[in-house]
């Protein structure tokens, strides 16, 4: 069998790229090792309940009728209507550090006013920083890594404010410890503070199912349980792939969302690789607690709370199995839906140590998941009313879970620290999309697939 394009991974980026290619008449096949679609943003069913894997919120919110920004861009490119994603905006979120709480919603003015009120000495510098962010071109594919902390320190002199601003952006997208690349910072700042959070009533599965439906209607092929074991290399080109079951598929080009280091591993040949192919090592443990009431009933009505228990913010690979100093509390209930979700739930996420979780024997692993579930809840109770009496069911995932279902080395969630913005690899017809290319979040990952498909696989030149 021979294709114009093979796409590795049926996550948001791969499916979006697939739609673009199929729409323009390419023979395209998406290969997914897992039994279901979604990749890092998948969904599953456990004891009769639907759960999302990665989704706290869709960032990059734009209300209906909007024309700018990444959400509208991907809707146009994929020929979707705004209603197809059924986004309900957030109720309101906050960043909580000792002595300060900065609240934000999908109106940037509100956030700016919070900063002016709580950090009056810093507001001018903050506005200058926003001007720089507004002027930055994220579409420049040739830029190098620039330290965000250094750029911020030129404008803001209070390290506490710098840490508070960075906390949600790092938690929701930084692949590197302590600091982040300024281009990534701009992408995240816009998507979280300037555009904001929303969620489909049915969770990420609605978006994934609509993508798959469109892709298939356009004639695209999707193979599940079809992991790529090896890329077939001829000189500086890829000629096809070998699947886990030994089957060979040929293709004019290959677009991989598997990760940069992960993709090169499949090539099975020695190629000169620079820093961009070093995998990330930041990963998380997440606890999901299903509740017998809506969180608002016990006094928690915020969508997402980013917390940190000291003025310093240590965003890094945890030295302990889980870093209990900071975390994210997400309530999928607290979005402005037309009707409440059937059940309440609270998701709490914290930095973790991948090696620890990978190396545990199975029995101990289950025990440790239970132990750290309780520790994470205890830690979060400093920032949310005690909801433990309302818990009906729990689930916990770790770096090991992420590795198992997505294949990402270290169970890494936000990919490699160095992004490959133009999607190129040492092989002429092998390209990358997804977390290691550089756009982040639900909307960002779709934009990643679209951009790389447009740039390299559809370019009419």
């Amino acid at each position: 069998m021979s294709y114009d394009s093979i796409i590795i991974g049926a996550g948001l980026s791969g499916l979006a790229a697939g739609i673009r290619l199929a729409y323009y008449g390419k023979r395209v096949c998406i290969l997914e090792r897992h039994t279901t679609i979604g990749g890092l943003n998948s969904f599953y069913r456990l004891r009769g309940r639907n759960h999302d894997v990665g989704l706290h919120a869709v960032t990059n919110y734009s209300p209906p009728g909007g024309k700018r920004g990444p959400l509208n861009k991907i809707l146009r490119q994929l020929r979707f209507q705004w209603e197809d994603f059924d986004l309900s905006p957030q109720c309101g979120s906050s960043v909580v550090f000792p002595g300060h709480t900065l609240r934000f919603n999908n109106q940037f003015d509100y956030f700016e006013a919070q900063i002016a009120e709580q950090f009056p000495q810093q507001i001018d510098g903050f506005r200058q920083l926003v001007t720089e962010i507004d002027a930055h071109n994220i579409g420049d594919l040739g830029q190098n890594w620039i330290s965000t902390r250094e750029r911020m320190a030129e404008r803001i002199s209070d390290p506490l404010l710098i840490n508070m601003l960075l906390c949600p952006l790092m938690f929701y997208g930084s692949p590197s410890a302590h600091d982040m690349d300024f281009n990534q910072f701009v992408i995240m700042f816009r998507s979280i503070y300037q555009e904001g959070f929303a969620r489909p009533y049915q969770g990420v599965r609605l978006i994934l199912k609509n993508l798959t439906k469109k892709y298939k209607a356009l004639g695209g092929e999707l193979k599940l349980r079809a992991g790529v074991k090896q890329l077939l290399i001829e000189g500086n080109k890829v000629s096809g792939v070998v699947l886990d079951d030994g089957q060979i598929l040929e293709s004019q080009n290959v677009l991989s969302s598997a990760g940069s280091a992960e993709t090169l591993q499949m090539c099975n040949v020695d190629v000169p690789r620079d820093d961009r192919f070093t995998p990330g090592d930041i990963s998380f443990v997440e606890t999901i607690s299903v509740l017998d009431q809506q969180p608002a009933e016990f006094g928690h009505d915020e969508t997402i709370v980013f917390y940190n228990d000291s003025e310093d913010f240590c965003y890094e690979q945890s030295k302990q199995p889980v870093d209990l100093r900071s975390g994210i509390i997400c309530s999928p209930n607290n979005f402005k839906y037309d009707q409440p979700l059937k059940e309440g739930s609270i998701r709490i996420t914290a930095l973790a140590n991948p090696d620890y979780w990978m190396s545990l024997p199975e029995e101990k692993y289950i025990e440790e998941k239970q132990y750290w579930y309780e520790e994470i809840l205890k830690s979060s109770l400093r920032f949310i009313p005690d909801f433990r009496p309302h818990v009906l069911d729990i689930d916990t995932f770790t770096p090991r879970t992420i590795k198992k279902f997505t294949g990402h080395i270290n169970g890494c969630v936000y990919g490699a620290p160095q992004k490959i913005l133009d999607g190129t690899t040492p092989f002429n017809n092998l390209f990358l999309c997804g977390t290691d290319q550089g756009f982040l979040g639900i909307i960002g990952s779709m934009l990643s697939g679209i951009s790389i498909a447009n740039l390299h696989l559809l370019n009419p030149k």
């Binding site: 323009y24 024309k67 700018r68 559809l458 009419p460």
Partner: protein, 87 residues
């Protein structure tokens, strides 16, 4: 295709790319960019839609011809003179 048919083909493509835009008020002599929120990705889409529908190749150096409806129709008229409209 006659120029008037080419115009409706372009309108049809624009409606597909930007379903939320009101195209009834489109002024043919003013750049699309000034009337609609179109970026370079969208322009590439116009080119690719034309290629998909009519197998017409528009080289990158000619993208500048697609600025307004008038200039687009003028540019496409000789290229599409033998094509059958799909609209």
């Amino acid at each position: 295709m006659a120029p008037e048919q080419i115009r409706s083909v372009i309108l049809d493509i624009l409606a597909r790319i930007a379903p939320d835009e009101d195209l009834s008020e489109l002024d043919d002599s003013i750049p699309f960019r000034e009337q609609m929120e179109l970026d370079s990705m969208d322009f590439l889409d116009i080119v690719m839609e034309l290629r998909k529908l009519y197998r017409v190749q528009i080289p990158e150096e000619d993208y500048g011809e697609l600025v307004t409806m008038d200039s687009t129709v003028t540019y496409l008229t000789p290229l599409l003179k033998d094509a059958e409209s799909t609209v």
